[in-house]
Symmetry: C3
Subunit: 137 residues, 3 copies
């Protein structure tokens, strides 16, 4: 029974998907929000029509980005447990544009080490769930 482990390919490409029950995001916990979201993200989410859905979408996007970069690198990156600097993976929205991922600090270094040149991200929410997907190239 021959086996080909197709996942063992050159580095540089990866995908990440995340689903998040919106009600689980603790939007009344300011410590949680300040630790995981930048000032700009908190400003954006707080003024969104559904603030909790907006935070959940961004949370899912950050998780999807970590998975996509880890998939490209073929090892888990940013893996610092409770100290993971999700704030260093910023989701930027400009009016009339698709969301863009901006990396700061150690996250930026980890992405460069992984040989990833570009990360695309997409977010959606409906009903009780937010989902996000990222692709690293």
């Amino acid at each position: 029974d021959a086996v080909v482990q197709l996942g063992e390919q050159p580095k540089g490409r990866g995908v990440g998907l995340d689903v998040q029950l919106i009600s689980e995001i603790s939007i009344n916990n300011s410590t949680f929000l300040e630790r995981n979201f930048t000032d700009s993200e908190r400003s954006y989410c707080s003024s969104a029509p559904s603030s909790q859905a907006s935070y959940a979408g961004r949370w899912a996007a950050k998780e999807a980005v970590i998975k996509a970069v880890s998939s490209a690198a073929q090892e888990v990156v940013f893996d610092k447990g409770a100290a993971a600097p999700l704030k260093d993976i910023e989701i930027v929205r400009e009016e009339g544009k698709a969301p863009v991922v901006v990396f700061h600090g150690e996250a930026k270094e980890a992405v460069e080490r992984a040989g990833v040149k570009e990360v695309k991200v997409t977010i959606s929410h409906s009903g009780a769930y937010a989902v996000a997907m990222a692709q690293a190239n």
Copy 2:
């Protein structure tokens, strides 16, 4: 604190994801259906085992395609608000094949302007939700 905006890359590649609560799709509103789905799509969805789930999947697919092309173009395309010609983004199913995206009219022009050569799409539904994902290359 150095920043690299990895999203600012050459045009041409993008991803789009969409989730849709199936119960929100107004399958009894014929104006809505005729405006957003082609004759062929309505025929397919109406005869599906779960018509509403099938319409929701196609709706999510059209939204995912718009996001993927916008992500590739690095600007929102097809952005005409309530007048967005979702009907011009057709999801075609042939027996024994993966779904295919066919663009018509202004949607076709917008995709060509964005430099996108290919859009792949995938759809799923389970329980109360439909999801779809598109990749533009």
Copy 3:
């Protein structure tokens, strides 16, 4: 009304997405589990914090892989109805790594025939749902 069927492109790239209501996975049906999951997968899922969610995630991943390879091949592969050898599409997790797809037997042959060189997969679950996405290159 000119039409461009952008999906008719060279073979080799495809995407697959799947959502699965966790409660639908029959974890008390050992025949079902043994037919669709390898010994290693059953061992992993049985010891997971939420066994049913873990099985649902793997089920979604296998379905997403089939869709991604079918999307790349531009025809449905592995299409054997009730006899589809989902067990031949194995999702392998190593500590500290992203999940990897390993193909066995007829699934391996089908993937090679489709001209697919690499399949990346990503899995998530939250609340009542598991989702997975695969990309074939």
